[in-house]
Amino acid sequence: MSRRRISIRQELPLLVWLVFVWCALWQDFSPGNLLFGALIAVVVARLFYLPPVELGGRFSIVRAVPFAIVFLGKVVAASFQVLYLAVARGPKVTNAVVAVQLRSHSDLMVTATGHVISLIPGSLVVEVDRSTSTLYIHGLNVRSGEDIVSLRKEVRDAEAALIRIMGTREELAALKQEVGA
């Protein structure tokens, strides 16, 4: 174990998730099972040591819940949009590959943004440039320059929402400055 240790506080989200999965699989949330699950989670996290996820150190549940609801709504909208496009436009659909520069440079944020925009209407990540944190997004049904602008804005908005939920303080400050300016 030559890697640098991480604090138990930083590991806590992972442990909570592991305990939740354990209890969900047993379908038993009794205290004994919770305790045993926590024990197994700690042992697994210590023995099978993966590179730690660099969390931003803050998580705003107040912002996360509305975001989850909006996200679910967008997933529904995306599915119906694809259904409509498949039936109505079919072979005539036009697309675009758009480069979007993200604000954050943390891997977690880029990954989370990529996941979110892969599931919201009409966008899919084709390529990621980690060095400049640029996402190359394939947009469905992009017909004009305005569509490109709105696609780019949607991606940046998704990233802004994620930064408000779990970005680092520096990212949040930068975001506030950008919005205020």
Binding site: A24, L83, G90, P91, N95, V97, G114, L119, E127, Y136
Partner: protein
Amino acid sequence: MNPEPSAVDTIIDTVSAVFMVVGAVMSLGAAIGLLRFPDLMSRMHAATKPQVLGLFLLLASVGLQLRTWWVWPVLFVAWIFQVLTVPVSAHMVGRAGYRTKHLHRELLTTDELEAVVQKAADKKTADRPDSGRQDPDKRAAHDDGPADDGAPA
């Protein structure tokens, strides 16, 4: 199952029935998209998004039908695994598809990745039908029509 008032039962049954039918329609939508979209990338949209919503609706209907609270965490875990894995596999397939040129360029209104790949930052790529990113010359629009570079098999 718990003895419940039949009115509530009927409502739950109706909601879960609607969920099941809509979830099945989502699968059908994915299949229609697969058949009707012209290139790999747009087919990928059809393959990923309805899948996530369809599974969500169907798992919700399972939870509603079983009427016990302890199944919801398992269903939630199953759905979260789906949400986490589907974009990754779609991204991998899309990346491979882009790199192996399974892309109908005449269907793209703009392609900013290509400019980066070519190291030629031409800002006016909009509405320019490119013949392929292997072609380094930037003279003008090649009028070679809809080249069928999507069928290399």
